[in-house]
């Protein structure tokens, strides 16, 4: 899961304060691992440096947490590119994929497009593995089967998610 992209995506719906950003992240994505404030600030400063966000305003008071961030044009493009790029099919991908889907829904992008793209990538990988399996010896077959079964599980998840996108969108945007 890419925290910078996630935070960027969260900013797409409107400028936010740092603490606000953390709370939104924790609420939507960080169920098991809440972000540290420090993580937010360091990420933000890196994004500032790369020109993907800008400081929209500073609230009166003390402390760095009073800065309000807004996403830049370049930032939007970056989020778009990230969402459109399929993840390399590998184990335990779901959290990233889930983040992507959620983010797409939050930013009113076409989430099914993301799932389909990912699905193609998975199947491409499966084809390669299937091919290798058919040409290889038993050891190859067993190794490939292991990978194939994991990919298949991912693909099933993709399918299930695709089938439930409507419901998910309802709960997320509520």
């Amino acid at each position: 899961m890419s925290i910078p992209h996630t935070l960027l995506g969260l900013l797409e719906s409107g400028p936010r304060h740092g603490y606000n950003l953390k709370r939104a992240f924790d609420e939507k994505f960080g169920h098991d691992r809440p972000l540290h404030y420090g993580q937010v600030y360091s990420t933000m400063s890196r994004l500032l440096k790369n020109g993907l966000v800008e400081v929209d305003g500073i609230e009166a008071g003390a402390g760095p947490e009073r800065k309000r961030y807004a996403i830049t044009e370049a930032g939007v493009t970056d989020v778009q590119r990230w969402l459109a790029t399929p993840e390399k099919p590998e184990p335990y991908l779901q959290s990233t994929l889930y983040t992507k889907v959620l983010l797409a829904l939050l930013t009113h992008r076409d989430a099914s497009e993301i799932l389909d793209t990912q699905r193609s990538e998975h199947l491409r990988m499966m084809r390669i593995l299937t091919d290798r399996k058919r040409k290889g010896d038993l050891a190859d077959q067993l190794i490939c089967d292991h990978a194939l079964l994991h990919l298949e599980a991912d693909l099933r998840w993709l399918e299930l998610t695709a089938a439930r996108l409507g419901k998910l969108a309802e709960t997320v945007t509520r």
């Binding site: 389909d116 990538e121 499966m126 058919r134 399918e159």
Partner: protein, 228 residues
């Protein structure tokens, strides 16, 4: 829209069964020798798409071109003849005639085309060897296992040297090991005979034997290669 060199192309297919739209503007194309998987949730219209492509079902509207011929202008017997000579079929189960022996089952399409019994059964046996079921020739379908039966069915589908093989959930009733064996033999045999395969399946590991994937949802098709 029509990719050059396509063997079988369908454009803008609509088909309704009662109030439900089984196909709602579906597209399809396949090249000679290509293996294309049609995937999608149950009830999405993938079997209907296959039936339309094979000329078993006539779509309400849309066009299907096989080798440059408009399918909708053919009458029923012409389409039957086309299926006999150019197409092969494998279904999930229940397709072998229970009274005939395996080799007679495999020889059946040839005999329907008028080949003599002896010759038909000789050719049939050659295909059964390729699918590693030649030892079952004298058995009846009731006496062989599911995987063996499906391989006999694949041999039967390929025995006429079809240009397109339609496979509707060919491994649907098999466990994964047997399913993959059937699928591997099917894909190998089809590729070596330059037979295109239209493969309807809901199993991704079976679909992984294809060259390309099309997903059908709510009667609409989506070509996954072009989507990337």
């Amino acid at each position: 829209m029509t990719p050059a060199g396509s063997l079988l192309v369908a454009h803008d297919l609509y088909k309704a069964y009662g109030p439900t739209n089984a196909l709602d503007g579906a597209e399809f194309s396949i090249h000679p020798g290509e293996v294309v998987a049609i995937m999608g949730p149950s009830g999405s219209g993938k079997s209907t798409l296959l039936h339309c492509l094979a000329g078993i079902v006539t779509p309400d509207s849309g066009s299907i071109l096989y080798n440059g011929h408009e399918m909708e202008t053919m009458n029923d017997s012409q389409r039957s003849a086309l299926r006999r000579s150019q197409f092969g079929f494998v279904f999930q189960f229940g397709q072998l005639v229970p009274e005939l022996t395996c080799v007679e089952n495999v020889a059946l399409p040839l005999r329907l085309n008028g080949t003599s019994r002896k010759e038909a059964e000789r050719t049939a046996l050659a295909w059964m060897e390729r699918l590693e079921v030649d030892d079952l020739k004298g058995k009846r379908p009731g006496e062989v296992s599911g995987g063996q039966g499906q391989r006999v069915a694949v041999a039967r589908a390929l025995v006429t040297g079809p240009r397109v093989l339609f496979a509707d959930e060919p491994t649907g009733a098999l466990d994964s090991l047997n399913g993959e064996r059937v699928m591997g033999l099917l894909a190998d045999a089809a590729r070596s005979a330059n037979t295109a395969v239209v493969l309807v399946t809901h199993e991704t590991r079976v679909a992984a034997y294809s060259d390309r994937e099309i997903v059908v949802r709510d009667g609409k098709s989506r070509d996954m290669e072009r989507a990337v």
